[in-house]
Point group: D2
Chain length 161, copies 4
């Protein structure tokens, strides 16, 4: 009767990004679902949050959105489970702590804060075409350039833990 | 492809409660799952949190646990999706905001804080054998004495919203 | 060179209260300042928060306001140090944890949540004309009916700690 | 009777830093106090938090520490007002939101998260010998190499606001 928990893959990334980044986030979300993992992101109806959720739902995945505001209506239509924090940016900490692996797509300061928190909390962090390695010297950061590569690295992270 | 979101029923209640309360929380959790709703609680391995999650899993439900600490290991074995906040008691606010309906079983100060937050945020609050109505004068609080009655009241709340 | 820390007295209470309650909060704030203690409250420009801050400033005290929103402009004009949380109701936890002694004036659900958190975190809680003792059976709650009595009880709490 | 609020200068920076960085943080803290401003930092008894607080107290300043844990004992001995959040890293958001100007000394991932939050919330950010400008392309980041320069830039920020 106990549940056998599925890995939760956190996808971070900007709310305002180019089409290429959205396409990559969509593909990555679809692969997360195909692997039977849960996708978690910041839940808003924009950029990487919307695209990765849409990708996961296109393959019947389960998607959790950790929202900064007070209303479920803030969630994009591909979020199955909106977690409403009412805590603004402080919800970024929850995004990271709740993820077994953190994947960072291109983004701005919000995404940077999530990478920083993930490293501080010793989560595996994979950069998907977002190379900020020079700025976190002394930390262990993995870089991949395609969604498929990212999935392979996640598999090795999950096996290790 | 859009998701059709299932109602999230938040179950609050003490970590240290009597057997009758745990039995009632288990039954209620089972009924939540049978109705196809998602159960959300505070996730720890004690009292109402454990019993209601166990009840929901006994009927194949989906259970979310919003945890106060930093580790997934704090979750009871019936939590499918542990949300790790690292925010201590402040996670009680998230419990309430993320629930479409809040059900309060007997508990202590933590449960009282959740009822208070739910009322402040105008969530429907149903007291399941925990009659604190005299202490929240001027607020709209529903009281039921059995899990089955509770389900009926939830149905009317969901229809209204 | 080390600082000798002054006691921080947290004053909780409603944003919408009667004139008698505001008068009592003002008097109490003035007494806190006269005793050389720091006054901490929820910082907004209403009810007990405004009145107690005004009282403390009338005697040259130092007042900290822990604000729920994102803007310093939310603070009443008697707050010396606005702490901006952007966390909504979750800031109630910070109000309580940061106080050496918690004093609760009459209020609604927000005040109830603060009393609950204070008890859960084993802070001394003094009810100033707000008798919710029947509500928190099994917890240690002190009741006083005047600001002067309240000061006497605070003194005994501070000596103990 | 209204208070005339003093500017709050937030000092971010690592818990483990070299002697040069601590010396600079101390000097900067002293200058903040000499200018009659309030110094705010993360409050712990380490690195930039301890050094900047000690500097400010050496000139009779007022120091606020926003602490991640649950205990006032976590504060360094130069903190006048320990704000206890019990929220772990989420307190970094409060550090930033409560500051009128954010100064970042060298640090690790925690400091990076604070710079990111400050930029996201459009706070003036001054980098004191911590050049992460290439990291935050498209954001307005000021760089200075000495505490004295930093004070000059703060003055211009305060005048603007």
């Amino acid at each position: 009767m106990q549940t056998s928990r599925k890995p939760i893959i956190g996808v971070m990334g900007g709310g305002t990004v180019g089409q290429e980044v959205e396409k990559s986030a969509f593909e990555f979300g679809a692969l997360v679902a195909e692997n039977g993992w849960i996708l978690l992101n910041g839940g808003r109806d924009a950029g990487v949050m919307r695209a990765s959720a849409m990708g996961a739902k296109s393959k019947g995945g389960l998607v959790i959105g950790i929202l900064p505001g007070f209303q479920k209506t803030q969630a994009n239509p591909f979020i199955d489970i909106p977690i409403i924090t009412g805590m603004g940016d402080a919800r970024n900490v929850i995004n990271v702590l709740s993820s077994d692996v953190v994947v960072a797509c291109p983004g701005g300061a919000g995404t940077m804060s999530e990478i920083a928190f993930a490293l501080k909390n010793k989560k595996p962090v994979i950069l998907l075409n977002f190379d900020v390695r020079p700025f976190f010297i002394g930390y262990d950061l993995l870089f991949v350039s395609t969604p498929v590569q990212c999935i392979d690295v996640i598999k090795s992270c999950i096996l290790k833990n």
